[in-house]
């Protein structure tokens, strides 16, 4: 059993390692097992271009906006669904779930026409809206589960102690669901950051993101370039997420869930 487990672990990590090796190679002709030219020069050449900078900026901006919009929409709905039972709750859960089941490309093609009509095609707002649609199911599921776990006992207690709605929200509700918020925000961010066809179609080629920069090189078989951009892709997302989590931790002490 240990063999199985460790094989799985290695198989998970190895591909990434190979990617790193690939990125560090300028020339790697067949049939050599290792690159003939092991260099990082070309990486520098590829990295410090205005195009890449623009792509990274746009990707980050989109991801942040999309995450914010997702959380704003999902928070109240997840709270209601997690704490209360009401007619139409199952329908709500189904509605929030749909973007997972219906293919992104399909939805986007339909939305493309709508966006054109609404003059949102080619705008940042249009793309952010589409990204949000696909982030909602994951954020909703996570936050609803968190609310189910915490319940509203603490809020009731706070109300009895005389707290008004704002104090209850800022001092009690938000800190207690913060881990869930962080998880939901992380998922939304990753989803938005990884979007290709949605940004491509709705953005109409006007908005350049890291995936959009990456794909043509894959299509062209230029793996050296593709691998470098892939690493940039992963690292940017990782750094952004680590910053986000550190920021949250600074303002909120770690909460401890009571095990009922």
């Amino acid at each position: 059993m240990y063999l199985v487990a460790w094989t799985a672990a290695v198989a998970s990590a190895l591909p990434l390692a190979s990617l790193v090796v690939l990125a560090c190679s300028a020339q790697w002709p067949f049939p050599r097992l290792l690159p003939s030219v092991f260099t990082v020069d070309h990486i520098a050449r590829l990295l410090f271009t205005p195009r890449l900078a623009e792509a990274v900026r746009t990707s980050l901006a989109m991801a942040l906006c999309s995450t914010a919009l997702t959380l704003l929409l999902v928070f109240p709905a997840a709270k209601a669904a997690g704490l209360y039972s009401f007619r139409g709750k199952e329908a709500l859960k189904l509605l929030a779930l749909l973007p997972v089941m219906v293919p992104a490309a399909t939805v986007t093609m339909g939305l493309h026409y709508v966006m054109i009509r609404a003059s949102l095609a080619g705008t940042m707002l249009g793309v952010v809206i589409v990204h949000t649609v696909f982030a909602v199911p994951y954020a909703f599921r996570i936050l609803m589960h968190v609310f189910e776990l915490t319940g509203e006992r603490h809020e009731e207690q706070a109300a009895m102690l005389g707290a008004g709605p704002w104090l209850v929200f800022s001092a009690i509700t938000l800190p207690l669901v913060m881990p869930g918020m962080v998880a939901a925000a992380t998922m939304s961010f990753i989803i938005s950051f990884s979007q290709y066809i949605t940004t491509f179609m709705i953005g109409g080629g006007r908005l350049l993101t890291v995936p959009l920069l990456l794909v043509p090189h894959v299509q062209g078989g230029e793996l050296h370039v593709a691998s470098v951009y892939s690493l940039v892709f992963i690292l940017t997302a990782l750094v952004a997420l680590i910053l986000l989590q550190a920021l949250v931790r600074r303002y909120y002490r770690e909460t401890y869930f009571l095990n009922p």
Partner: protein
């Protein structure tokens, strides 16, 4: 510290009647216990007083002011729950200060009051701890401190000691009673534990199936349960069938005076507590035989079979009998409570 008045309180959840036309008056500064089995609606009643739920009908009055529609945060009626519900992300100090902070008290006032109440509950050294670092008893004391520091109009306790082990429970009981007396708080304690209700309360209200069956001092309640239902709930008693004849209740153990002097020939039930069954060693005529015996430390419980087949349970610590012994069974006249159908 307020006088609480409940008038005609009814509460239904989805066509299920939980509280049925309740009326209760709680005097300023007194401790009343709400006693009843699980599911009798006790916790619901507390929530109604606190404003977390609204009654389907009836009124809640604080000092003769109608607060039925007043939301929880303005009522100053705080519930301390069984699981204390301390805010897990705030320190003890911040937890206790929460209500004062909500009121907008100044920093200095908050620190002073928090310091004082922590002294009262004897936990000043824990001010910077987080709830998960505290023991069960400490958590409960902090929850009490958090409520009491606000000098609430009424303190509501929802089975606060059920999660604690026995010795801790006893010391917490004394602690709460002392605290209530010192701060002169109006207090309602919800419990299913008879001993707890009797030990702590000035008056006990018995809630069965959503109705208040009897409200009395613990002594009166125990000695004279108003109905067979209440007697059954209080438990540890025998029921003897009999008849009313010539103004007396007649059963296997003899004739007893009772207040139901009317209804000659009516069927009636006599209630006799275990500890009021007197067993005498049977050298004189015996009318019963020991059939079972359970030793429980403080007392021994005996199953006694009478000559006519009636089974009784007796509890005593005075005499020691063995199974099979013959005994003479009697009881004091005043010990027999009679209920007419």
């Amino acid at each position: 510290m307020s006088k609480i008045n409940l008038v005609g309180i009814t509460k239904s959840y989805d066509a299920k009647l939980v509280l049925d036309n309740l009326a209760l008056c709680i005097d300023n500064g007194s401790l009343v216990a709400l006693l009843g089995p699980s599911g009798s609606g006790k916790s619901t009643l507390l929530k109604l007083i606190a404003g977390l739920e609204m009654p389907s009908a009836g009124q809640v009055l604080f000092d003769d002011c109608d607060v039925t529609l007043l939301p929880a945060r303005h009522r100053q009626a705080v519930i301390v729950f069984q699981d204390h519900c301390l805010f897990p992300h705030l320190t003890v100090k911040e937890n206790v200060a929460f209500g004062l902070r909500a009121r907008g008290e100044s920093r200095g006032v908050i620190d002073k009051k928090v310091g004082e109440i922590l002294e009262v509950v004897r936990l000043p050294q824990r001010r910077n701890s987080l709830p998960h670092e505290l023991s069960g008893g400490e958590k409960q004391r902090i929850a009490l401190a958090r409520a009491c520091v606000l000098q609430p109009r009424v303190l509501l306790l929802d089975e606060p000691f059920s999660n604690l082990d026995v010795n801790l429970r006893l010391s917490m009981r004394e602690f709460v009673v002392a605290l209530q007396r010192e701060l002169k708080l109006t207090c309602v304690l919800v419990t299913h534990d008879k001993e707890e209700a009797f030990a702590m309360a000035e008056r006990v209200a018995v809630l069965l199936d959503g109705r208040l069956e009897q409200v009395d001092t613990p002594e009166s309640l125990y000695a004279r349960p108003i109905s067979r239902k209440v007697a059954t709930f209080l438990g540890d008693c025998n029921f003897l069938p009999g008849t009313i004849l010539d103004g007396k209740f007649v059963c296997t153990l003899g004739a007893f005076p009772n207040k139901h002097s009317t209804g000659n020939g009516r069927r009636a039930i006599g209630m006799l507590r275990y500890e009021h069954v007197d067993l005498a060693r049977g050298t004189c005529p015996t009318n019963g035989r020991i059939t079972g015996r359970v030793f429980a430390g403080r007392q021994t419980t005996y199953s006694v079979e009478l000559a006519d087949g009636t089974m009784l349970t007796a509890a005593t610590c005075k005499e020691f009998f063995a199974v099979g012994d013959g005994v003479f069974v009697t009881c004091a006249e005043r010990a027999m409570q009679v209920y007419v159908d």
